[in-house]
Amino acid sequence: MASTDEELVARSIGGDLDSFNQLVLRWERPIYALAYRVIGREEDARDVCQETFLRAFRALGGFKGQAKFSSWLYRITLNLCRDWIRRERRQPLAQTPEGVDLVELAGEAEDTESIEELVARKEIGAAVAKAMALLPEEQRTAIVLKEYHGLTFQEIADMLDCPLSTVKTRLYQGLTVLRRQLERSNVTRLKDHHV
């Protein structure tokens, strides 16, 4: 049976590097996805992901288990993302492919999905990425944590050190902006055409 995060953390604090690397293996993809969606750049997200685990390892002795290990990692990641945004002083870049490679797409298609539906999904995803890049960092972060990582409002509030109502307001405002952006794009028409 796989060890829990808490067990692996305890062993890591005791000096077991393999246990920590199991935690890395378990959480690298969610952490990378969080960083990518917040800063929008693949290579930078990779660097943030790597730095997150390095910092987590260095600070492991100070982790008392007052929060979930994943929440702790998320907090480190978000701090690094914030640093990156301040340092670079630029908005996230929505990296989207110029064209659609049908052969490549065919490999990603789910069983019940036609190639047309897959193309539509990709285009909607690209439009979402562009719209998300326009959001203020606070709104974008709240949406990413709620939508893609399934955190509760309270967990997000704790992580971002803000009141619960602020989290909800950020979400509402962010979703409203996204709605307007997506309605302006061709995505809605394309989606209506295919769905």
Binding site: G14, R29, E147, T169, Y172
Partner: protein, 263 residues
């Protein structure tokens, strides 16, 4: 939406992160307020769209490994006076001997030259500071650490670090030695294989000649037996023909004599 309170509730309702009483309140409001119902449906549609945004899937393969050089430099400063050089050398010899005898040794010829990796080191990334294949078959992306980082319990692993430190101090020389030994060993092995192949070929040729000679002898014997049988059959056939001819002569004589008596 009607007011800010309802906006917060609507968001909670949208993500189903809401208590039963508030959920009932929003349900009731949405049935009554078309504007809020339209907005709720639009936000729900945005959530569906958000599901289409997937991040790329790069090969990450991060792994924390200790930086052997940093560990060696930092610890050497306070341990050099503590540990006698002879003891250090003995420990290094012992560790290397144990590692080489116990571990499977793999020699890789990569873009950075030859590298030696043991079966033990694959599961103990702190043994060498090279790169390792990731557990999932993707190139590993190692994150190097000085050994005193992370607030880990160094006292608990002190002996292990001592041994590793000693090993790592001699690692480059050991690696070169191992590589040279491996090359010499390879040449000897190849030579031995050639010899064995030559011996095997000679032995096989001898066995083939013997088998061919045996086949020829068997063939000659069989031919001789067959010829004798044919000869015997010819003799028997000649005897039969002689007997038949005699019977025919007797029959002719009998008929001739019978005809003479009738006259």
């Amino acid at each position: 939406m009607c007011n800010q309170v309802y906006k917060d509730l609507l968001v909670s309702y949208l993500y189903d992160d809401i208590n039963d009483m508030d959920r009932a309140k929003v349900d009731m409001h949405l049935r009554a307020c078309e504007e809020c119902r339209t907005e709720f449906n639009a936000l729900r549609s945005v959530r569906v769209d958000l599901g289409s945004w997937a991040p790329p899937l790069p090969d990450l393969g991060f792994r924390i490994v200790r930086d052997a050089k940093a560990a060696q430099t930092k610890r050497a400063s306070w341990r050099s006076w503590l540990t006698p050089a002879a003891g250090l050398a003995a420990a290094a010899t012992l560790v290397l001997a144990a590692a080489l005898s116990l571990a499977r040794i793999e020699i890789h010829d990569g873009p950075d030259g030859f590298s030696v990796r043991t079966g033990v080191s694959a599961s103990a990334p702190e043994a060498f500071d090279g790169s390792y294949a990731g557990a999932r078959g993707v190139p590993a992306r190692d994150v190097y650490l000085a050994s005193d980082e992370g607030g880990v319990d160094l006292a608990g692993i002190s002996r292990r670090i001592d041994a590793l430190e000693s090993a790592l101090k001699h690692a480059p020389q050991s690696r070169n030695a191992a590589t040279l030994n491996a090359r010499a060993s390879d040449e000897a092995l190849i030579k031995r294989v050639h010899e064995m192949l030559a011996q095997s070929e000679t032995r096989q040729q001898g066995e083939l000649a013997l088998r061919i000679g045996q086949v020829i002898r068997d063939f000659d014997n069989q031919r001789h037996v067959d010829l004798q049988a044919i000869q015997a059959n010819f003799v028997r056939l000649g005897d039969n023909m002689t007997r038949e001819a005699q019977l025919h002569t007797d029959l002719v004589n009998f008929v001739t004599n019978g005809a003479g008596k009738q006259k």
